[in-house]
């Protein structure tokens, strides 16, 4: 996806802070120009009115500045963007790996908040082996799984979970999210049941049906 000329920076910090500049305008600018994952991280996705209710001016100012600093404009995402103009897309993927039948791509069924930035250079590609530390909780806070041993001393002996990413070996939320993470990044993922264990859940692992899963994942290495 090649983008046109980079958007120009209109507002200075003073202007951003000022009460004359409504939050809606800043949000609109960001939504029009920033990459999807950028908006996601900064919690700027969705109806402008709603975002305006939850986002503070300072936040928007920070986001605005970061956008120009990181240059994460639309089209700069390593991950394909689904914009509002795209209707239901039939994925014709003749991939060798096994993927569940996808007819309607729709918006991603997970959100990611970066807790600790990665090196932003080493992003895993499909088929590469990644290693992660993780903790999984339900919405009510119950921890259903983790590979981080309780005693710090034991962490040396424990191993991070390794697997080939993007191949359908793990729940979809993980496959999708990890492809957007870089080495060293720690993120909080909130995955809708459709991209986790769906209607069935995993009763023996304390995951009820239709459960939204929350993971804190640290991408340790990419092979």
């Amino acid at each position: 996806l090649k983008m046109a000329a980079e958007p120009t920076r209109e507002w200075s910090d003073e202007q951003l802070k000022s009460d004359d500049l409504p939050k809606k305008d800043i949000i609109k600018f960001l939504q029009d120009n920033a990459a999807h994952s950028f908006l996601n991280e900064h919690k700027l996705l969705g109806n402008i009115k709603n975002v305006a209710k939850t986002a503070k001016k300072e936040q928007l100012m920070i986001a605005y500045n970061e956008l120009f600093e990181s240059k994460r404009f639309k089209g700069s995402d390593p991950v394909e963007e689904a914009t509002q103009q795209v209707k239901a897309v039939k994925i014709e993927e003749k991939a060798k790996e096994v993927k569940a039948e996808v007819v309607d791509e729709g918006p991603p069924k997970y959100t990611k908040s970066v807790l600790k930035k990665g090196d932003k250079t080493n992003f895993p590609k499909k088929g590469e082996t990644v290693s992660c530390w993780y903790t999984g909780t339900l919405e009510d806070g119950t921890v259903f799984d983790t590979n981080i041993p309780a005693a710090a001393r034991k962490k040396k002996q424990a191993k991070p979970l390794s697997f080939k990413v993007g191949m359908g070996k793990v729940i979809r939320g993980w496959d999708e999210a990890l492809l957007t993470m870089s080495k060293g990044e720690m993120a909080r993922l909130e995955i809708e049941p459709e991209w986790a264990y769906g209607k069935k859940g995993l009763p023996e692992s304390k995951i009820p049906p239709n459960a939204k899963l929350i993971f804190e994942v640290e991408l340790v290495s990419v092979d």
Binding site: V98, K99, G136, F144, G168, V170, I171, R172, Y197
Partner: protein, 596 residues
């Protein structure tokens, strides 16, 4: 007499270096010593053996006294039991471990189940003590011991019901519990070593080769137990049996594997995940026997043992894919315990997958084709009725999980390969259901209507041997084909022809309906003649000597009486009537169209 000899030889050897004992000394010590114990002079033997001045000869030759001692200890009735026990314990501490080991293992070998159980119960603890005395050289001795122990365990009858497990009449459960206690210190040693070596550095391992050997022996042991007894027994769930020694044993084996550095996910997913080639002295096959891995998968996925050590992030499809290898193995066996576990594992994996979600490219994986073939064998020839029924249920479930394209491919494959009329009939019924679903508003797909349906229909609406097809043998298939055709001509309006059946019909008439008509007429004529002949024969009451007789087991079956023969023939004719009635109905429905 024996006591004097014993006492003499011991005294003579006091103070002498042990390489100067003669072979005669050895002989007298052994023969006389054993005799004393057998005769009941244990008190004296004990005091001789405990005497400080005699420790050299005791250390050198004492182990020879083990056989009679152990015999007495197993029987437990002797009045000198406590003295024998005291001698025994003393010897365990003083004699050479390697020699003690030989002596103990020799006594482990028993034949009848009761003695097997008692000797195991008695000797596991002493064996442990002795092995621990071997220090860093213990690995191969441990291996030998574990191998002998498991050979003995294999002689014990297995409990099957909950009551049998509770009663534990043959002490198998007790043995398993004892085994866990037995291996505990060795497992701990390996575990500690793994922890230490991680803390030191990546590659360096303390204890080097010895530790690897120890680890390998424990791995071998766990793998063996997964084969026997664990693959044979039916574990009871906590609701059925709160305290289950066998379930505890299974859990401990799984925990042991984790502790010695064999994480369970790797073992279960081994067929698919790339395993590093581990340098060692065991090949992959021996190291990870396929049946043991299948047993392991069953314990984890069906009984949820050690579930908390299993990551809950793997996708259900991946889980199914990996387990197909194990399922395939289990279902390919003839032993019903294996088949049952295969069915249970398959069911558990399928249940986690959403209906209609498995894609067609899974069918390019060999196991996804061999498993259904194995299932067909179970459904048709397994001698246990409950397994046949369950097999069918799982078969249908597996179909339901495929998406429409995959179902289409699967049905074609099964029609081609199952070679069983009942199975073919069942598949054809499924095809009908899929067409029915596709014709409902909103469910349209290209696989069960339109372009792709016709090739499938052509395979269904045909007679395997043309007009000469044995209609009785192929009854299930023929009836389902006719039902399908009848359904299509009723459901799919001529004016709509969504399925394409109406444009195909003239071909189907030629390749299916006309030959079927001919076949029906021929069969009916044949059987009517047979019936007539049989009734004539019955009337004339000629007692014919049959040319052949049939026997099952040792019993010769009675010859078919005329009555039963007549009944069978009537039944065949009735079947032809049934086929004909559907055929006629179809012809009527087609005529209506022709007359439109």
């Amino acid at each position: 007499m024996a006591l004097e000899q014993f006492s003499d030889v011991v005294q003579r050897c006091q103070g002498l270096p042990d390489d100067s004992y003669t072979s005669e000394d050895h002989n007298i010590f052994t023969v006389a010593g054993r005799s004393c114990i057998e005769k009941g002079d244990s008190v004296q033997v004990l005091s001789i053996v405990l005497d400080e001045k005699n420790q050299d000869i005791v250390r050198c030759m004492g182990w020879n006294l083990l056989p009679p001692l152990i015999q007495i200890l197993i029987k437990k009735e002797d009045k000198n039991l406590s003295q024998c026990l005291a001698i025994f314990n003393h010897l365990l501490e003083r004699c050479q471990p390697k020699e003690l080991l030989i002596g103990l293992l020799e006594q482990l070998e028993q034949d009848d189940p009761d003695t097997v159980a008692e000797s195991l119960h008695l000797l596991l603890n002493p064996l442990q003590k002795v092995l621990l005395r071997l220090g860093s050289r213990k690995a191969s001795s441990l291996g030998m011991t574990l191998s002998s122990v498991l050979d003995q365990v294999a002689k014990l009858p297995l409990p099957y019901t909950k009551e049998q497990e509770e009663d534990d009449v043959f002490s198998l459960c007790r043995c398993c519990t004892n085994l866990i206690t037995f291996i505990r210190p060795f497992v701990q040693e390996v575990k500690q070593n793994l922890q230490n070596s991680e803390e030191l550095s990546e590659g360096k391992r303390m204890g080097g080769q010895n530790m690897d050997e120890l680890r390998t022996e424990l791995l071998k042991f766990c793998m063996k137990t997964l084969g026997h007894p664990l693959l044979e027994v039916q574990l009871k769930d906590p609701d059925t049996l709160v305290e289950s020694p066998l379930r505890t044993f299974s859990t401990e084996i799984l925990n042991t594997l984790s502790a010695i550095g064999e994480p369970l996910p790797s073992l279960v997913y081994q067929p698919l995940l790339k395993r590093k080639q581990v340098p060692g002295f065991l090949e992959e096959e021996v190291r990870y026997p396929k049946e043991s891995l299948a047993s392991l998968a069953h314990l984890v996925f069906v009984h949820h043992l050690a579930a908390d050590t299993f990551p809950s992030v793997f996708s259900p499809v991946f889980c199914l894919r990996c387990n197909m290898e194990h399922i395939c193995l289990l279902l390919s066996r003839t032993k019903e315990t294996r088949i049952q576990k295969g069915l249970e594992l398959y069911e558990k994996c399928l249940v986690r997958v959403e209906d209609g979600s498995l894609p067609a490219d899974l069918l390019e994986i060999k196991t996804f084709l061999t498993v259904p073939q194995n299932l067909v064998k179970v459904m048709t020839i397994c001698s246990r009725h409950d397994l046949r029924t369950r097999g069918l249920k799982v078969f249908q479930m597996s179909i339901d999980k495929f998406n429409t394209e995959a179902k289409h491919t699967f049905f074609q494959y099964m029609l081609k390969t199952s070679k069983h009329s009942g199975v073919e009939g069942y598949i054809i019924k499924n095809i009908k259901n899929q067409i029915d679903t596709a014709l409902q508003p909103g469910n349209s797909n290209t696989w069960f209507e339109g372009v792709h349906l016709l090739p499938l229909l052509r395979k269904v609406l045909s007679l395997p041997d043309g007009p000469e097809t044995d209609l009785l043998e192929y009854l299930d298939r023929v009836m389902e084909s006719l039902n399908l055709l009848r359904y299509l001509v009723i459901r799919d309006k001529v004016t709509e022809n969504q399925t394409g059946i109406w444009t195909e019909l003239y071909k189907i008439e030629d390749s299916f309906l006309k030959p079927l008509r001919v076949g029906l007429n021929m069969s009916r004529a044949h059987y009517e003649r047979e019936l007539h002949n049989t009734m004539e024969t019955k009337k004339s009451k000629a007692k014919e000597e049959s040319v052949l007789s049939v026997s099952v087991g040792d019993e010769t079956l009675p010859n078919v009486t005329s009555e039963s023969q007549i009944q069978a023939l009537h039944s065949a004719l009735h079947t032809f009537d049934m086929i004909e009635s559907v055929l006629v109905r179809i012809e009527e429905l087609i005529e209506v169209r022709d007359n439109l």
